[in-house]
């Protein structure tokens, strides 16, 4: 009897034992924890991590590239762009767009600068067909210069190549002293240089104001007496080693002095470059007028 009962219990226990529900069976199927160890041993986790790292590197690079595209030029890289753009915007006023022969001025000035021991300097001379600006040096990138030279001014004074070279040299010294850059570089403008800007937040006005300062300085304000004194003395110091150039410098100043005194169209010259007469006095050449 007991044996029959035991066999029956053995046979029917699955029917009466705890049966798993459908959800429990599903959970068993979806239980990754049970196969996690198997996956780990297959090194799939490592592969996934490596791919995630590579993706984050690519995303970072892309972000950096996009940020770089919003870069603003630094102090060393901005000036050529600003000056040339100013020249383009003022083409009608400056009248530089006309056919002209090669006067050979640049070759002469090149060798003059080498004699004054200024090496590895690049420059561009732009001849303009207006007396509005007689001569001026505009800022460019590091060790680069842009010179404006008026054709009517050269013709009226009947300047030789040596005189022109010395005139350009004076402008070269003025640019090195940084007077012009200091005047046109407003605080807001300087604060942007070398940084990046956010999309839609570029303050173009701060750069347009620089061009307005260009106009103000070149056509109205000019250099002050102290600046003129410093430039005159420095030019004379360089020319002392070359007496023939020194005498040409004095002759040039006398020519300009005569012009500004006698020609009305050049009377405003002294507003920008005060004044040839004073320059001669500073150099001890005031009597020979």
């Amino acid at each position: 009897m007991r044996l029959i009962f035991f066999i029956t219990a053995l046979l029917f226990t699955p029917l009466f034992g705890k049966e798993k529900t459908v959800d429990e069976k599903k959970a068993e199927l979806l239980d990754f924890k049970s196969i996690k160890n198997i996956l780990k041993n297959d090194q799939l986790e490592k592969v996934v991590n490596a791919k995630k790292k590579a993706l984050s590197r690519v995303v970072k690079k892309r972000v950096v590239k996009i940020e770089k595209s919003y870069a603003i030029p630094s102090e060393e890289e901005i000036w050529n762009f600003l000056t040339e753009y100013w020249l383009v915007l003022n083409v009608q006023k400056l009248k530089w767009d006309f056919k002209k022969p090669d006067y050979g001025i640049h070759k002469h000035f090149e060798s003059f600068l080498e004699k004054m021991s200024f090496l590895e300097k690049r420059f561009k001379i732009l001849i303009i067909d207006t007396p509005l600006i007689t001569h001026f040096s505009l800022p460019a990138n590091k060790n680069e210069y842009i010179f404006l030279l008026s054709l009517p001014f050269m013709r009226t004074l009947d300047l030789t190549k040596q005189e022109i070279s010395i005139l350009l040299f004076e402008d070269f010294i003025r640019m090195n002293k940084g007077y012009f850059k200091e005047f046109v570089s407003l605080k807001d403008f300087k604060s942007h240089l070398g940084k990046t800007f956010k999309k839609g937040k570029f303050k173009k006005q701060d750069f347009i104001k620089v061009h307005q300062r260009y106009n103000q300085f070149i056509f109205k304000k000019g250099f002050n007496f102290q600046q003129q004194f410093d430039v005159t003395k420095e030019v004379n110091n360089y020319l002392k080693g070359h007496p023939e150039y020194q005498s040409i410098y004095f002759k040039l100043l006398r020519k300009i002095n005569y012009l500004v005194r006698n020609k009305k169209s050049y009377s405003s010259y002294v507003n920008i470059y005060p004044s040839p007469e004073l320059q001669l006095n500073w150099l001890g050449r005031g009597k020979k007028l």
Binding site: A71, P73, D102, H106, E110, E120, K121, K124, L126
Partner: protein, 118 residues
């Protein structure tokens, strides 16, 4: 035969690359003649690849697209230069430089008398 053909192809490709140069100024005019202020045929910008047909002391005859014309030799670089527009693209775009301004800029580069001390 195959080897000979391969070397001829290699030589031709090297030769064609030897004639390829890049523009190194913001904007340049491709002129009809090898003189300053020559009538422009096309406007070229910095980084533009051109094929040089003749190279003299001052001027170069170049081919770009369907155009053949002259530019100053000093406007050419063998290697692609780092152009202002490429280095600061968004900054440059903010100024919305018009086509007429680009043309004048190209003419400005033609008008300069350039020098460089040793």
């Amino acid at each position: 035969m195959g080897k000979i053909f391969f070397f001829i192809l290699l030589f031709c490709s090297c030769f064609s690359q030897a004639n390829e140069y890049f523009i190194n100024e913001n904007f340049i005019s491709l002129g009809q003649n090898p003189v300053r202020n020559s009538d422009p045929l096309s406007l070229l910008s910095c980084g533009h690849k051109v094929r040089v047909e003749e190279l003299s002391q001052e001027w170069s005859l170049i081919k770009v697209g369907p155009y053949k014309g002259y530019i100053k030799k000093s406007f050419l670089n063998k290697k692609k230069p780092i152009c202002f527009q490429d280095k600061f693209p968004k900054f440059f775009d903010e100024f919305n430089i018009k086509l007429t301004e680009m043309l004048y800029w190209a003419q400005l580069n033609d008008q300069y008398f350039e020098g460089k001390t040793k």
